[in-house]
Amino acid sequence: MMHSPLISETLFQLGPLPIGKAVAVTWGLLALLAGGSWLLTRRLRLRPTRWQSLLELLVAVLDGQIRDTMQVSPAPYRALIGSLFLFILAANWAELIPGIEPPTASLETDAALALIVFVASIACGVASRGPAGYLRTFAEPSWVMIPLNIVEQLTRTFSLSVRLFGNIMSGVFVLGIALSLAGLLVPIPFMALDLLTGAIQAYIFSVLAMVFIGAAVKETAGTHPASKE
């Protein structure tokens, strides 16, 4: 029988803190991503090696996406958006390793990621417009919209986390049902579908993060169609 997707398994205790399975997998992924990036960027050359050109391609594609979506220079946002995308992609694809559930299939990880985007959008807005200027954007187009704008800030953060959680959790769940019905080879098409879903959800999460941050930074908020949802 399957366990509830809303309860996280405790792996071990770290003092008073129970460390869940998802948190341990997250730490492993973080170590892998950070260590891999450090190893690959340790000896950068003008004539790139194979791995370096792969990384350069990745960064170039990322820069292009940020420039297309936010219509600003990508340099200040590259680190945040790129890390979000790479981490979510790695987390969604972690289910390919036997015995590991993707950490994004538990709500805490997604809530933390959405909170990062929430705080980043406020911080970028304050940094580019000043505190008073940022607060004034809540009263656009008129002061009647102030409660609605505040509610929008909260609900879009919530929907960002629930979207990722629901998509990945449902994939894991369907896989579990398929496995319990028929063991060998049957779950493979579902796993392929999960790979696609995982990649698309990582892309969407980072695009929405870009849209939210861009709307907080830009003069005319909401020029991108996705910002209306």
Binding site: S4, P5, L6, I7, S159, V162, R163, F165, G166, N167, M169, S170, I200, Q201, Y203, I204, V207, A226, E229
Partner: protein
């Protein structure tokens, strides 16, 4: 299974998923049809169109996913069942 709330929440979960799948299915069909139409008219824009289509489809799918989350909440984290 004596608790009537459990029976009602199972029914509620099934209803949430079934009706929650209806709307997004219709909407995704319309979106794909429109994208096919656009690609047939302008095959050179297929790359941009399909990228936007995927993002739009995932957005629409989110509504069904919300219903799924509600169903999971009803089944596994029902506040009225102890």
């Amino acid at each position: 299974m004596d608790n009537p709330i459990e029976i009602v929440s199972i029914l509620g979960a099934a209803l949430a998923v079934s009706f929650g799948a209806l709307g997004p299915a219709l909407a995704e069909g319309r979106a794909v049809a429109a994208a096919m139409d656009a690609i047939a008219r302008q095959p050179e824009a297929a790359g941009t169109l399909s990228r936007t289509l995927f993002v739009g489809l995932a957005m629409i799918e989110t509504m069904a996913i919300y219903c799924l989350v509600v169903a999971v909440l009803l089944l596994f984290a029902n506040p009225f069942v102890h």
